[in-house]
């Protein structure tokens, strides 16, 4: 089973050329973040309600916790899906919205979710005072913000790249915009969207674990779930409980993979464009079972009929015509729209500046320096991970049977919330008296490195056999073989994997640069630690500063580094 995209991954839309819209978007995002802080810092919520049912380390409670955590994940996924359909469709269909949404989404996806957790919790608690719902929603929101962006970009890209001849056919056969959306555009987008939902789900585990046990000032909010269970186990130095949690995670991930994503992937294969049937069609025992079961099938018939009726719905009325000419209307709407945007951006920029105004230049420079430390860590780790996993991935990918067996393992490892393993690192570092500045670093890439591995495996397994045989027949061996044959062939895939790992590493730095095991705290010099420490201290201005600086680092490097790499990959290394 190979579930990766077999096509060369297209340039992510958010890696577009930077322009003035990025500035507007940046002002909007940072302004909104500042606004959340301003609203949230005045909240003094009684948070005792969760203290009445404390988390227990009894393994028998684990299934219940696991179920609640999984529920949160799926709630966030459903929320992401709904949001994706709204926002991506708007961006794809509306010229004005598109201009601001793309840079906006790019910056939003770079906001370190974990750095912002304490504020969103306060905000949601204030929205639902005296109820656990607020905390639950905050956790779901945290997962949502880690999942939604790549899904939006995927749907947007699909909507913009529907094959022209099929669009023409839809027009020629009188499909309305609504019918065309459900009959042509959404089906076309399904494979990409399913793939990105899987990626999002994998990424989400990391955050659900971090989002369930949140320290807000002096309070700790513990939502019942695996994350809180692990947090308690860490606080009480109970290695056995950590192990039990790991096992529970393994089972949960295996279950939803078998019960949800495999059937989804197998089903979505029919929406794949392509001339011929795939060499290997993704299969799922569950889907096959369902398709063969008469009872389930017949139960599905009315469902399908209703879905069909909705998709083919035709409006019976038309909106009344506005008496102004089209050009005039466009001009008026443009003026209103851009005026509002400019006002919002200015307000946002002002708010963000005023929030961090009290901080001196010296500290800002210090934060920038910390940013460079973290950047150095991420860059070094990426280099090491690439040096290890690219050759290994190639060797695995070239052996189809091995690849078939190891690919799901790599994907599983990517889904595994690596922050569960952090305590073990602390034990090791303390025991061997190692330097936390160096030895905490690997934690940042612990979870993200697998993206590199499974992308490279996928890349190597799609290298045409002719190329491999040609190299062999011309006696291309050793270093020459790597340099001229395999590395170029898997380059686009390595870049895709590295880009995902890169984003993950920055986010992980917030939990990886400051780690604890019981009362032992280990802190490394870095931007992630800066955000974490000030979160614990409740210093809003400095959290905002840290978050903004991290955003800037990620966004700027995306444009300066990853965009050219993607271009190079698309131009030169695509195996046709």
């Amino acid at each position: 089973m190979r579930r990766t995209n077999r096509r060369f991954p297209p340039l992510p839309v958010w890696l577009g050329r930077p322009n003035r819209w990025d500035l507007v978007a940046g002002a909007l995002v940072f302004g909104a973040l500042a606004a959340i802080i301003v609203v949230a810092r005045d909240m003094r919520m009684p948070l005792e309600m969760l203290d009445t049912t404390p988390i227990v380390l009894d393994p028998a409670a684990l299934p219940g916790y696991a179920a609640r955590t999984t529920l949160r994940m799926f709630a966030a996924l459903a929320l992401s899906l709904g949001f994706t359909f709204g926002v991506a469709t708007l961006a794809a269909k509306n010229r004005r919205a598109e201009k601001i949404l793309l840079p906006l989404l790019d910056i939003l996806q770079s906001v370190p979710v974990l750095g912002y957790l304490s504020f969103t919790v306060l905000l949601f608690l204030s929205l639902f005072p005296g109820s656990v719902l607020g905390a639950e929603l905050a956790a779901i929101f945290a997962i949502f913000t880690s999942q939604v962006w790549n899904m939006i970009f995927s749907l947007y890209q699909s909507l913009r790249t529907v094959p022209h001849d099929m669009e023409e056919a839809a027009t020629a056969f009188h499909l309305t915009a609504w019918q065309r959306f459900w009959r042509l555009e959404v089906p076309f987008a399904v494979p990409g969207l399913v793939w990105n939902m899987m990626m999002s789900m994998s990424g989400g585990w990391f955050f659900v674990v971090a989002a369930e046990a949140i320290a807000v000032g002096t309070h700790t909010i513990d939502l019942p779930g695996i994350g809180s269970y692990v947090a308690l186990a860490i606080a009480e130095r109970d290695l056995g409980a950590v192990g039990a949690a790991l096992l529970a995670m393994l089972i949960v991930i295996g279950l939803y993979d078998q019960l949800m994503f495999r059937p989804l992937v197998a089903w979505s294969d029919k929406f794949r464009l392509g001339e011929t049937a795939a060499v290997e069609t993704p299969r799922s025992w569950l889907l096959t079972l369902l398709r063969r079961t008469h009872l389930v099938r017949s139960a599905g018939v009315p469902l399908r009929r209703h879905a069909h009726a909705i998709a083919m719905w035709r409006p019976t009325w038309r909106p009344p015509a506005v008496p102004l000419s089209r050009a005039t209307r466009t001009r008026i709407a443009d003026a209103l729209y851009y005026g509002t945007l400019a006002a919002l951006a200015l307000t946002g920029a002002g708010l963000a500046v005023s929030l961090i105004a009290g901080i001196g230049i010296a500290e800002i420079l210090h934060v920038l320096r910390l940013g460079f430390f973290t950047l150095l860590r991420v860059a070094l780790l990426m280099a090491i991970a690439l040096a290890v996993w690219v050759p290994l991935g190639v060797l695995i990918g070239l052996r189809p049977r091995l690849a078939e067996r190891l690919q799901p393992v790599a994907q599983f490892l990517a889904a595994f919330p690596a922050n569960l393993l952090f305590p073990l690192a602390v034990v090791g570092i303390v025991h061997f008296r190692l330097d936390p500045d160096i030895w905490l670093s690997p934690l940042m890439l612990l979870g993200a490195q697998w993206y590199i591995l499974f992308n490279v495996i996928a890349g190597a397994s799609t290298v045409p056999n002719d190329l491999v045989e040609a190299a062999r027949s011309f006696h291309v061996r050793g270093w020459l073989w790597w340099r001229k044959v395999m590395l170029p062939a898997v380059f686009p895939y390595a870049v895709t994997g590295a880009l995902t790992a890169w984003g993950g590493a920055w986010n992980a730095s917030i939990v990886a640069e400051a780690v604890r095991w019981g009362d032992t705290h280990l802190v490394a010099q870095g931007l992630g630690a800066y955000i974490t420490l000030h979160t614990e201290a409740g210093d809003h201005a400095r959290i905002a500063l840290g978050v903004i600086v991290m955003c800037l680092f990620v966004v700027i490097l995306n444009r300066l580094l990853w965009r050219p790499l993607y271009d190079a990959a698309a131009r030169r290394f695509q195996v046709r």
């Binding site: 027009t171 019918q179 029919k270």
Partner: protein
């Protein structure tokens, strides 16, 4: 066949203009034509004649700049019930079964599900697809897929059927089967359609199927001639009368003596078709060799080298532009330089080609000139692309520059690095 000759479709003074930085790009100029009931009309023309643009305009897929389109006497704009289309690339939805694809147009029109399925099954039957109802398009061969394309068009019971090169994506044998099957249904009156407008670049196909062929001239596209084909069906491709009409159309397509002169823009913005230098060399060799001996009938050469008219004509035109051959009245005649080229070895060939390229293609001379005057002897691609885009569409500008690059590289007049997108004289002068 239908005895009445009611006009189904009338085009009156249709124009299509794309605004460009340096004026307007006229793609279709003052096109008027009529499709009557009982007719299959072919639209034939070289690429650049806008035949596909015209068909899309009629189908309502693309707005036209000026002129009127009348369908059964009333003006239309946008997709019109009663007009259906068959696409060159089939344009089937891969996630729908054969039945689903055929039903789609009916569902879009709000036909009740039961009736839609009954009518779709009937159309599938008619077009010879029974047994494939539940298959997905990717399980089908190209011929079967295009049958789905036909069934999908026929099921909405159109009066006028538009076809955009419907057989050109199929192999020769399959295409012929589909053509004769379609003609059988048409002649037996089994289909609801009463008129067909078909775009093709295949001259023989047009003569084989059509009652009338409208030949479009290129740049800008305009009606050059209308040729009635009064031959009875089934037509014999080898019959002298058939061959004569094919010859006549070839002559028409090559008639406009200086094929490359343009009404629009400066000389450097002349649109170049990207024809491989291998094809050019091959054509020169073929015409120079026996049995042609330097003068050949284009239809014969086309058959000989297994190229279709729209592939052969650009090559012949390119040779004419380069002064290596003359094309007129369906014949190609090598110039002395063309004969020399055919007999020369690789290096001498490159020399001849490069001399003629510099002398005859202003764009190549322009690129050379710009590179020579710059101290770095380098220039970015975008510089020339921008110049061309003032006068040509984006696609044409790209193709023109790509052609100049391919020919310039072969002639070793300049080097081009695709990575950096830069032209240079490096390696060339050294």
């Amino acid at each position: 066949m239908n005895p009445e000759t009611e006009p189904l479709l009338e085009l009156q003074g249709v124009r299509k203009i794309f605004p460009k930085a340096a004026g307007e790009l006229v793609v279709l100029d003052d096109i008027s034509l009529t499709v009557r009931s009982g007719e299959i009309v072919g639209l034939l023309g070289r690429s650049g004649s806008g035949k596909s643009t015209l068909l899309r305009g009629i189908a309502g897929l693309m707005p036209l700049t000026a002129g009127r389109i009348l369908y059964r006497g009333s003006a239309i704009s946008g997709p019109t019930p009663g007009i259906a289309m068959v696409f060159q690339s089939f344009a089937l939805f891969p996630w729908l079964t054969v039945l689903g694809n055929v039903e789609l147009g009916l569902h879009a029109l709000g036909v009740p599900a039961q009736e839609a399925s009954r009518r779709a099954l009937a159309a599938i039957d008619l077009i010879g697809l029974d047994g494939f109802e539940t298959a997905y398009p990717r399980e089908l061969s190209g011929g079967m897929r295009q049958r789905v394309g036909f069934a999908r068009a026929l099921v909405v019971e159109p009066t006028l059927l538009l076809m955009d090169e419907p057989f050109s994506a199929l192999d020769v044998l399959t295409a012929e089967t589909l053509r004769t099957d379609f003609l059988d249904l048409w002649l037996e009156g089994q289909m609801p359609i009463r008129g067909v407008l078909m775009v093709t670049h295949n001259i023989e196909e047009a003569v084989f199927m059509c009652d009338r062929v409208v030949v479009l001239a290129a740049n800008p596209g305009r009606v050059q001639a209308e040729i009635p084909i009064p031959l009875p069906h089934p037509r014999d491709r080898l019959a002298p009368a058939f061959r004569q009409i094919v010859e006549d159309i070839y002559a028409l397509l090559t008639a406009r003596a200086p094929l490359t002169t343009r009404a629009f823009g400066p000389p450097i913005a002349q649109h170049l078709r990207q024809v491989s230098t291998n094809v050019l060399a091959g054509l020169l060799e073929t015409v120079a060799a026996a049995p042609y001996g330097g003068r050949a009938d284009l239809p014969e050469v086309a058959e000989d080298v297994q190229l279709e008219a729209d592939e052969l004509l650009p090559a012949a035109e390119a040779l004419q532009m380069l002064g290596l051959a003359e094309v007129a009245a369906g014949d190609i005649v090598l110039t002395p330089a063309g004969r020399d080229y055919a007999e020369a070895d690789t290096q001498a060939r490159k020399r001849i080609f490069s001399e003629h390229l510099l002398a005859c293609v202003p764009l190549v001379a322009h690129i050379r000139g710009v590179l020579a005057t710059r101290p770095s002897q380098e220039a970015p691609r975008v510089r020339f692309e921008a110049e061309l885009e003032d006068h040509l569409s984006e696609d044409y500008a790209r193709e023109t520059l790509n052609a100049a690059i391919e020919w310039g590289r072969y002639a070793e007049l300049f080097a081009y690095d695709d990575q950096s997108g830069r032209f240079s004289l490096e390696d060339v002068t050294a």
